[in-house]
């Protein structure tokens, strides 16, 4: 990247720490021009399993955190990311983004975070209902986080695409295990932003790995409640659907590109709970 600076070591992000893959495997990442950039860790099934354990441990606490706090943390991510935008523009540039495109991508990522920071305390009202049942009961339905969500991010190295996939599930109170593209160096740098933004350890775990190796693990793991799969691969989608049946995992299929801003993406990782209580003295 720079001949005078210190080259960065890119690792995985699990339970708030940056370990290397337990498998010891790496993938060499080179620039569009063929210049060596880094050795990205290549996560294994065991790394994935450890991530799920970390996410499950963090899930209840994050689900319980107040919407206000979640909003502030998402906004904080935007602040920190904005402050480091130069670094991300550089990283994206090295992976073949033009300067202009890289700048726009980072700016969009920041904007997305700001946008979704504002949803943390509003989607509940939008997707809740008080139900006028015929009997003397107070009856209401509210969204609750699905729990542990696997995010299989778009393949493009776009930071905005990664954020568009993570933010809705995150702000909805889910703990995440994210599979980024094998060569997505900016994804690991984004994890550094998360660490600096008071996202509790384990709430987001981020792996770089070979997709074909880990996607089936995501959809088959019995302790994963839901998966977002960004994919245009017909077989990958079909297999994921098939494999998700084992624990009736919620599987949200999306094309392999950034998700448009929409509160309905938050709803994809919520379960509606209906509560009945009698009205009386």
């Amino acid at each position: 990247m720079s001949t005078s600076g210190i080259p960065k070591t890119y690792k995985l992000f699990i339970a708030g720490k940056f370990p290397r893959s337990e498998s010891g495997r790496i993938t060499e990442v080179r620039s569009a021009q063929g210049e060596f950039l880094a050795n990205a860790s290549r996560a294994s099934r065991k790394d994935f399993r450890n991530s799920v354990v970390a996410a499950r441990k963090a899930a209840a606490g994050w689900a319980k955190a107040s919407s206000y706090l979640k909003g502030q943390i998402l906004y904080r991510i935007a602040e920190v990311l904005d402050g480091r935008s130069e670094q991300f523009v550089k990283e994206l540039g090295a992976r073949g983004f033009s300067q202009k495109k890289a700048e726009a991508d980072v700016a969009e990522a920041v904007d997305l975070l700001v946008h979704y920071a504002g949803w943390t305390d509003k989607y509940q009202a939008l997707f809740s209902s008080v139900n006028p049942v015929a009997s003397a009961h107070f009856n209401f339905s509210v969204p609750q986080p699905s729990g542990l969500v696997g995010i299989i991010a778009p393949r493009s190295g776009s930071l905005a695409a990664l954020v568009s996939a993570i933010a809705p599930a995150l702000l909805g109170g889910n703990a995440l295990v994210v599979l980024a593209a094998q060569d997505a160096l900016s994804a690991i740098s984004f994890a550094e932003v998360l660490v600096s933004s008071d996202v509790p350890a384990g709430v987001v775990n981020l792996l770089t790995a070979q997709r074909a190796e880990l996607v089936p693990e995501f959809v088959k793991h019995m302790d994963v409640n839901a998966v977002l799969l960004c994919s245009d691969d017909v077989d990958e989608r079909k297999n994921a659907e098939w494999q998700s049946a084992e624990n009736l995992k919620r599987l949200s299929l999306h094309p392999d590109r950034a998700l448009a801003r929409s509160p309905y993406h938050i709803l994809d990782f919520q379960e509606i709970k209906t509560t009945w209580h009698p009205i009386g003295v």
């Binding site: 009698p278 009386g280 003295v281």
Partner: protein, 304 residues
């Protein structure tokens, strides 16, 4: 008598009552259907459980005398029906009633303790009890001091009931909670528990003088209190819903509920009464209808 008094029950010892749950359960008894011989025996049982009542300022010797004849012989010519369990009158009318029911099984009940409000010093209220008993009343229907209950003076209620029970001597004591003034089922339950601990022979819903009288759900709450008390102490207590039970169908729903909550042991005038003035003839008309297959007219039933 003393042995029937149990320690003053703490508020927290009475279980919470859920209004909608109680009302739902009560509604379920209404879905029970009594047919043929079961209906007939329930109708006749209901007649035998009547406390035929008159509690008016206009009550006179003539009125009470006529009512007593009806209680003795509800369906002239059919000795299998009746007599009613008791007649219920003001203390002044007790001696008239006692004479009128002579040589029958009909008992005489008197309301006392400044019925219906109870708003008088305990001394005078107890004097009224003694007077009624002295006139020959077999049973006393007392009212509790609802004002004091609502003020939170629960122990005063316990004590006034103990005092009344003592004043009753051999007469049976029915304790009227006036549930329409206590308003919540929680209150009704606690008042029931206090009354039973204080030695009540019966607990009774209402005076009939306030807009809300006996209902199925409030009676259910009281029956459950009786059940729990019996479970705990082994002592049986009677139940008397009063006011608002004006037709046979409703009366049978009470009996179905009674049987299902407390069992067949309670299916006797000794342990259950209806306080009613207009229920009698509807029960009689239903009995005739069951026998003859024809729907009946009021012209064929005496109005006393």
């Amino acid at each position: 008598m003393k042995s029937e008094v149990f320690p003053f029950p703490a508020r927290r010892d009475s279980p919470a009552i859920d209004q909608s749950g109680v009302e739902e359960r009560a509604q379920r008894f209404c879905a029970r259907s009594l047919k043929k011989e079961s209906k007939m025996s329930a109708l006749k049982l209901a007649v035998s459980m009547l406390d035929v009542t008159t509690l008016e300022g206009a009550d006179s010797v003539g009125k009470v005398h006529q009512m007593c004849q009806k209680a003795r012989q509800p369906l002239p010519g059919d000795p299998s029906v009746g007599p009613a369990a008791a007649v219920c009158v003001y203390p002044r009318m007790v001696s008239t009633a006692v004479k009128a029911v002579e040589k029958s099984k009909v008992r005489v009940a008197a309301v006392a303790t400044q019925f219906p409000s109870g708003q008088m010093r305990l001394k005078e209220r107890l004097a009224e009890v003694r007077y009624a008993v002295g006139e020959g009343a077999d049973e006393i229907d007392m009212v509790i001091s609802r004002g004091q209950f609502l003020q939170g003076e629960y122990r005063a209620i316990y004590e006034e009931i103990i005092a009344c029970k003592e004043a009753c001597g051999k007469a049976h004591l029915k304790v009227i909670l006036e549930t329409g003034e206590l308003m919540t089922y929680d209150h009704v339950r606690y008042a029931s528990d206090i009354a039973m601990a204080a030695g009540a022979d019966f607990i009774k819903t209402s005076t009939g003088k306030v807009p809300i009288a006996a209902t199925l759900p409030v009676t259910l709450v009281m029956l459950q209190a009786i059940e729990d008390f019996h479970e705990r102490t082994g002592r049986m207590v009677g139940m008397k819903p009063a006011g608002g039970i004006s037709n046979a169908k409703l009366a049978l729903q009470y009996l179905v509920m009674l049987r299902e909550i407390l069992g067949t042991k309670w299916l006797t005038p000794k342990w259950f009464r209806f306080g009613a003035s207009s229920l009698t003839n509807d029960l009689l008309m239903q009995i005739r209808k069951q026998e003859s297959g024809h729907y009946q007219s009021g012209d064929y039933f005496t109005q006393d």
